[in-house]
Structure formats: C-alpha cells, structure tokens
C-alpha cells in the first residue's frame, strides 16, 4: 500500500513539474494541481497502515487508523481548491486582456538577451 502511494505521488510530482515548466498558463495550473495532489497523497501515506475508524468505543487503539493525517489532508485540499479557483480567475483575466494564454518572457530578460546578441 505504502509503495503504491509512493509511486503514485512520484508520478504526480513528475507530471506536475513538467506541466509547471510549460508556457501556457492553463497547463501550469493543471501542473500545480497535480503537485498539490502528490503532496496530499504523501500526507495520507504518512499516517501508516489503514485500520478501523478512529472512534473510541472500546476498540483496540493499535487497530485504529491515524485520524490526524486525514484532518491535515482535508485542510490542505480545501486550501488548494480555493487557490486554484483564484488562479483560474487570474488566468481568465490575463486571457481576456491579452487574447492569449501564454506567459510572456520577462522584459528584463529580453533586454539582457538583446544586449548579449549585440555584443556578439
């Protein structure tokens, strides 16, 4: 189980990182979502073995699954959800103002590239 979670988190991290490095803002947002999912999976995996529901009812504490990391993951999911919505709104504004979804080059970077070109 732990191995499956670790592998899934690894694949998500890889795919997310690839997407974040793209030029289109829509891909970047999907990539951020994947990275956040990977982190959430990792938290879920950090709690150890799955077990019985954590209700104190004469149960053997050793057989109960850890409730804390589930609480942490729920909080993290809500936060990621809110911020992704915000980022989508930002992307929409950028698209409606500029007509494209592409993240432009930095002006300063372009100036430096221009300077280097002139010297050669």
């Amino acid at each position: 189980m732990t191995l499956a979670i670790a592998l899934a988190a690894g694949v998500l991290f890889g795919a997310g990182t690839y997407l974040v490095l793209q030029k289109l803002l829509s891909r970047i947002i999907v990539g951020l979502g994947l990275i956040a999912h990977a982190a959430n999976l990792l938290i879920l995996g950090s709690g150890g073995r799955p077990g019985a529901p954590p209700i104190i009812d004469g149960l053997n504490p050793a057989a109960v699954s850890d409730p804390l990391e589930q609480a942490l993951v729920l909080t993290a999911i809500v936060i990621t959800f809110g911020i992704t919505a915000f980022l989508l709104a930002l992307a929409y504004r950028s698209w409606s103002e500029q007509g494209s979804d592409e993240v432009e080059d930095d002006i300063e970077d372009r100036r430096i590239v221009g300077l280097a070109g002139r010297r050669q």
């Binding site: 974040v20 803002l25 970047i28 951020l32 990275i35 956040a36 990977a38 982190a39 959430n40 990792l42 938290i43 995996g45 950090s46 709690g47 804390l68 990391e69 942490l72 909080t75 993290a76 936060i79 809110g82 911020i83 915000f86 980022l87 930002l90 992307a91 504004r93 950028s94 103002e97 500029q98 993240v103 432009e104 930095d106 002006i107 300063e108």
Partner: protein
Amino acid sequence: MSTVATLPVAIPLLGAAMSLVALRSLTGQRIIGIAASLGLASVAGWLLLTVGNSGPIVANVAGWEAPFGIVLVADRLAALLLFTSAVALVLVLVFAVSQRATDEELRGFHAVYQMLAAGVALALLTGDLFTLFVAFEIMLTASYVLLTYRAGGAQTRATISYVVIGLVASALLLTCIALIYSVAGTVNIADLTTKLGQVPSGLRAGIGWMLFLVFGIKAAIFPLFFWLPDSYPVAPTPVTAVFAGLLTKIGVYAIIRTQTLIFPSDGPSTLMLIIAGLTMVVGVLGAIAQKDVKRILSFHIVSQIGYMIMGLGFFTVAGVTAAVVFVVHQIIVKASLFLVGGLVEASEGTGVIDRVNGVARRSPVVAALFLPAAFSLAGFPPFSGFVGKLALVEAGFAIEQWAVVGVSLLASVLTLFSMTKIWSGVFWGTPADGEIRRLPTGMIGATAGMVVVGLFIALAAQPLLDYAQQAAIDLLEPGAYRAFVLGSPA
C-alpha cells in the same frame, strides 16, 4: 491569561469579518480597519511586556493539550516580532487611508488587509508546522489579492509568476510536513525537538535542508529571490511597504524557528553562511543596476535577508540575537523606505530616477524623511541599522568567521553607494518646473511615524538586544522551548 495569546489572531479576523459587513461604507471600513490594527498593536504590546517579565504564554486552542491539539506559543521571539509587525501594520494602514486611492479602488481592501495581519500573527504564534502552513496560506492568499487586483497589461506576467511561485513553495512545504510526519509522527514543533533527534542524521539533514529551501523561497534568499524584484514594485505603495516589511521577514522567522529548534547545528553552518554571503552581494549588485526607486529598494530587501541568514548561520547565541535584532530593524526601515518612495511617486508622478530631479528643493520634508531611513539601511551610526550590523559583526568575529563578515561589510558599502544613487538622482539636481501634487498630511505623518519608530529602535538598542538575547537563549538552549510548551524537558 493564556487566552490572550489567541487575541492577535482573533482581532484581525474579527476586523476582516466586520469590514465585509460594512462593505458599502468606506468610512465604516476605515474606522474598523484602524481600530482592529490598534487593537492588535495594543495586545501585542501587552504580550511583549508580559512575556518579557514572566516568561512565555502558551494557549491550547479548544482545550486540546499539546502535542495533540493546535497550540499557540507567545515566546519572546514571537512577541517581539509580533509587536514590531503590528506597529508597521498600523502606520501603513494610516498611510493607505490618507492616500485614499488604495481602498477606493479595491472595495474589500480593509478585509484583505486584516486577513494579511491575521496570517502574520498566526505564523508568528503557532507552535506546530501544519498551522504554520495554514498561516502562510492565509497571509499569501491575502497578498495575492492585494498584488493582483490592480495589475493589468504588462504587469500581469509579474503577478502570475508571484502567485505560481508561492503555490509551488506551499506544495513543497506540505511535502516537507508529510515527510516529517512520516518519520516523527508529530507536527508539533516542541515535540519534534526531541522526536526528530531519534531519526537517522542523514534523513534529518535532508528534511532540514528541504524545509530551509521552502522557507528560503518565501524569504527570497539566493538563488530563489528572482520573483521578488519583478512583482513587488507592481503593487500600490502601502501594499509594497507592508510586503517589504513583513512577508519576507516571516519567511526568515520560519527559518530561524525551525533551524534552531528542530534542526540544531553544533557549529556554524558553512553552507548557510555561503548562501548568506551570496544573497547579500547579488542582491546589492542587482540594486545598483536598477533605475527605478521601488526596484532598487526591492533588490535591497533581498540583500538584507542575507544578513539575517548570516546571523543564524553562526548558530551562537550572539549570532541569533543579532539576526533577531536585524529582523526588527528591517521590518521598520524597509517599510519606511518604501513609504518615502511612495511619497516621491505621489508628488512627482513617477519613481524613475532619470525623470525626477531636485526633490530636496521641491519637497524638503520628503528628503528629510528619506535620509535617516537610507542611512539606517546602510548601517550608519547612530541609526538602527548600525545596532544590528555591529551585533552581527561582533558575533562573527567572536567565532572567527572572517570571510562572511568581510563580505557583509563590502555589501554595506555597496548599499550606501546605491542609496547615494537614489539621493543624487532623485533629491539633488535642478528642480524641474512641473507641478507638485500636494501630499495629504496623513501620508507624511505615517511615514514620519515609521521613521521615528526606526530612530526609537536605535535609542532602545540595549533593552532590545537584551530581549533578543533572551529569545535566542530560549531557542538554542536544548529543551527550553519544549519545557514551556509541553511542561516537561524530555
């Protein structure tokens, strides 16, 4: 009495909710905003004195005992930075209200500003890593809104990169927390001080450096600072001032808190000192190359972060003391420099050095406010920067770290050079003929207030150093933090 430690978070949250209720009345929002900020400052002041006299105050939120529940810890470090931040928040808000444009353009400005204050307070007070993550999210989400609401056209790129980098850092922080929870089974900082000690040293160092990297992105250390000079100048002046004063410093605070308590080092950390030296030099060289007042000051934020990391990198009581004093000084001085930059922009219409001339003649008051803040940034006696830098240099000499101390002195000289560039470009020269826009008294008053607080830091240098030293001892003494949070040293 322990409930008081929750008030610095509760008051701004209440203020934010009430400003949303009063969304239709700008005057109502302003009154609520200023009242909430003053409330935060007075509670923070009370905490500063009480914690200084009778030791840390610990609040178990909702009655759950630490390490199982959320715990808020007002120790000396948190109380000192909380009070400084609260003072900066009040003065910047007065500036924003008298400037009028900021809160007229963004209707929810006061609610967002109070949320930012709540995030800062929670980040400083929290005693566990996950709540620290939540606090960063509250603070950063508020900062995303404040930074992006006005930016359009060419500025969109800068704001998007700020938000994306913030999100990547948050996801990495979450990853670190997951790793720490899987090896130690707790996220409570006091509990981690002993529990992580049982983890193999390689694993522990790996997680420690990863956490350093995450907070390093937030604090803008070398080589993770590139987002800062692009995005900060985009925002309106009061927003930039509060970002410059607070946001990166909270990143530094998180580095100090976690590296001293959870990942303590026996001797000076060479890697950290190298990073500190590079941050100072690269930041200040970036500043020298710029032409716009706000961009120059943004690069200086980066450069000054290097000094704080240097103090921490010594891992001695003297070093951490100096780093804490330096953070306090920077919060105030950086905010006052940005406010002065905003005054220049407001009266002349631009902050580009080539286009502004002779402000010393045209508005002498603005020039008089710039001078003490600029000298303080460069570290001239008798200003507050001198106190911080002297303490850092002494701490470095005490453990014979000549190289990094030499680099820090060189960076100071370069800082002075770029300050004279602003001075000779903006304040001296033939006054232009154009019209001077009248500055509201409140804007000048708030800026003057910030400069006076900076001077007061220099006057109160000895009590401040004593307080910071006690804070550093609480951090570096093994078991001290654990003892007052969990009630038992082991």
